[in-house]
Symmetry: C2
Subunit: 153 residues, 2 copies
């Protein structure tokens, strides 16, 4: 079901990632084409789901979200039912910005954005009261060195 992506498509995607606000004409100029083909390709890639949500990146600190934790989770439960409950909990919690199931001895990693350490503790207490977890390690970010949504394409 994968649509064929050529070099021009990739250039368009790069331009869009860098600034989704710019006009078709600007993108067309940058990628060396013109309005209509660029527009057609964007439309096609949107329909194929390659291009997803259009959004703005906000300054977390300016909005009072000053703490970021990476949470490493080990569990002894591996049943479908437990996993479903855990997943639903993560989805329901807006402070969980990212969650991955891992290979290896750590089962899950979460990235959690909260106002402060106290707010993290509220989240942590809620999490362990809702699902059984064997072991949790929280890594506190002191400084965000790099952050990008731009995929290396």
């Amino acid at each position: 079901m994968s649509v064929q992506i050529d070099a021009l498509d990739r250039k368009i995607l790069q331009a869009l990632q860098a600034d989704a606000g710019q006009s078709l004409d600007e993108i067309a100029k940058k990628v060396g084409s013109s309005k209509t083909p660029v527009w057609t390709r964007i439309k096609k890639m949107r329909e194929a789901g390659i291009i997803g949500q259009q959004t703005v990146l906000l300054d977390a600190e300016a909005l009072g979200l000053e703490a970021c934790f990476f949470v490493l989770i080990r569990t002894s439960e591996h049943e479908a039912e437990w996993q479903q409950k855990f997943l639903a909990t993560l989805q329901a919690r807006p402070e969980v910005m990212e969650a991955h199931r891992l290979a290896g001895d750590i089962d899950y990693i979460l990235k959690v954005r909260v106002a402060n350490a106290r707010a993290y503790d509220v989240f942590y207490q809620a999490l362990i009261s809702e699902v059984r977890i064997y072991n949790v390690t929280a890594l506190l970010s002191m400084e965000q060195i790099k952050s990008t949504t731009m995929l290396p394409i």
Copy 2:
């Protein structure tokens, strides 16, 4: 230097995060206001840096970036010069999507997006050849359970 944000501003930010492509009229209707005030507030928040880059989220798998690693790094070096070199290396590498300096016994965490395990190894070899690193643990993501850029505001 922080601009005062009120309830209406927050609603506007939520709407923009959810869909930056929608028209001013739509946003205005959702937040219970009208075009001009919404526009003025957006402009003010853009100038204040609260609203940053406007972008689109792409499907990494569809673009052949099928592997995601979280890299835990310990170092014995804590000099300014080493840190600067390390930072520059991370900035220069597009596969590094996120990098944080941590509190605790692990010094840094990276999130790295690559095509496959082989591509990760290329990155890893390049990294350890450029800067001295004491210990590296790579966590391989099997499944992205959740991913959002929407801050919990």
